[in-house]
């Protein structure tokens, strides 16, 4: 294997899940490289294994073949920290104690972990809510806690699994701007799974398009829209061109996924 300066190297990763009487191939030979400090977005139709790919990188799912390497040069910090789609906070812990959780598990002392947690809470704008419990927060605030929890661990790579999918449109827009600001501040390497092309274009340096099941890399699109990027990018001609280009590819995969769900050859197969 070549020596590369990549932060994350994914090589020929395959994952199968036992299904109802048959095995489901979730990922089939995925290879990816993520550069240090890059914001990489992964899009694809439902069931293309986007979340599975992220879980493999996080070490939560063991691949059947292939390998994942993450360049870690700082001892004592975890390789990855994940922001989960449904926030997945511990309901019995306060906001502060949720953010310190990872540090606590690694044996970081109370004073230090609380200082770091407060720093991250300040970054996501939740300083005043440190003593509340998750059920007392709105969806957007919970997801901010999820982001602070991941960042407090100072991971090599930040993994985000459709973190804004369950939020309403306005909250999502605000959170997208916040993410851009945080990323610009911390310079983290990010792998970001989303089903929204618009979101991927706003956030990402590159967009990886996965195929319908089994998940393979269909194409990789560089997003050359400049930085710093804000919502106004959506009005630029280059944005429209790129959106159209990626969407025409994604559309094919989505239609293929829909056919698959209907058990193969449906009327859709004839019409496409």
């Amino acid at each position: 294997m070549e020596t590369s300066p990549s932060k994350v190297v994914v090589r020929d990763v395959g994952v199968t899940f036992p299904g109802h009487g048959r095995t489901v191939v979730a990922l089939d030979g995925i290879s990816l490289d993520v550069a240090p400090g890059e914001f990489l977005c992964v899009v694809g139709p439902s069931g293309s294994g986007k979340s599975t790919l992220l879980r493999v990188v996080a070490g939560l799912v063991r691949p059947d073949r292939g390998q994942v390497r993450i360049a870690a040069d700082r001892p004592g910090t975890p390789a990855t920290a994940m922001v989960f789609q449904e926030h997945a906070l511990l309901p019995w812990r306060t906001v502060l104690d949720n953010v310190t959780f990872g540090l606590e598990n690694r044996g970081v002392g109370r004073a230090e972990r609380e200082a770091r947690a407060r720093e991250m809470l300040a970054m996501v704008g939740l300083t005043r809510f440190a003593r509340l419990y998750p059920h007392q927060l709105s969806g957007g605030m919970k997801q901010r806690v999820g982001i602070a929890r991941a960042l407090a661990n100072d991971p090599e790579v930040l993994l985000m699994d459709e973190p804004l999918a369950s939020l309403d449109a306005q909250t999502r827009t605000i959170m997208q701007e916040e993410l851009l600001r945080i990323w610009a501040t911390l310079g983290k390497t990010v792998v970001y799974v989303t089903h929204s092309l618009e979101e991927a274009l706003l956030l990402g340096d590159r967009i990886v398009l996965l195929t319908a099941r089994p998940g393979r890399v269909s194409q990789v699109f560089p997003v050359e829209l400049g930085r710093p990027r804000g919502l106004e990018v959506r009005g630029s001609p280059a944005y429209g061109v790129l959106l159209e280009k990626i969407w025409s590819e994604l559309r094919e995969e989505v239609l293929r996924a829909m056919d698959e769900d209907r058990g193969g050859a449906g009327p859709r197969a004839a019409s496409t």
């Binding site: 939560l60 019995w92 929890r149």
Partner: protein, 256 residues
Amino acid sequence: MPRWLTDHGIAVVSPVLLVAGWEWASATGVLREALFPRPTTVARHLGQLVTDGTLERHTATTLVRIAWAFAVSAVLGVATGLAMGSWRRLREALDPVFAVVYPIPSVLFLPLVSFLVPAGEVAVVITTAVTSFFLVALTTMHGVRQIDPLVVEAATHYGARGWRLFTAVLLPGALPSVFTGLRLGLGYALIVVIAVEIVAAGRGLGAFLWLSWQVLKVEDMYAAFLVVAVLGAALSYGLAALRARLLPWVQDVAER
């Protein structure tokens, strides 16, 4: 009118109406006063029983039995439930046993228990504890099982493994159900201890109630009824209040 009264007034009005109706029915002969004495008569009689110490003696006896039975069933039940919830093998091994033993009415364990330990306080306590134990264990087990797998995955991802996963995730995650189980278990302990006292004890509220009925001292009987009812309500509300105090993170059903 204060807001509390408009919201919960009906909860006050209905029992008051019930007692008033009973008073009226007994006074006018709709109910035979010899069998259904007026609530005011029962209240006066209750005062006497309290003053002469009779009620206190029986209540204390019953409460001590409940306390022991509850303590035993809570400790063993929570431990068993947590183990069954966390360890699939154990759950599969014990499930059929629970399925068969759990529905047996607890009083029926009394003869069995009396073969194992000498009849007396210990036998009463063990018999009372049996049903509570199953309730607490089963509810606790389900408490562990219903924890959101995504929360467990996230906790694992953030480094909670083994014992740490148990104490930081599985145990707190199961606690709301544990409290539900304890509340049910305590309620059943009261039911069962009264039943056991009726068949096998000379003292305690159950024995007192039963004796009062047999010799038709109906005022005594109703006084004992009242104490048992108040005891049940007090124990149940006490545990609910404790839960609200100890688990501030549990959201009310209304908030969901």
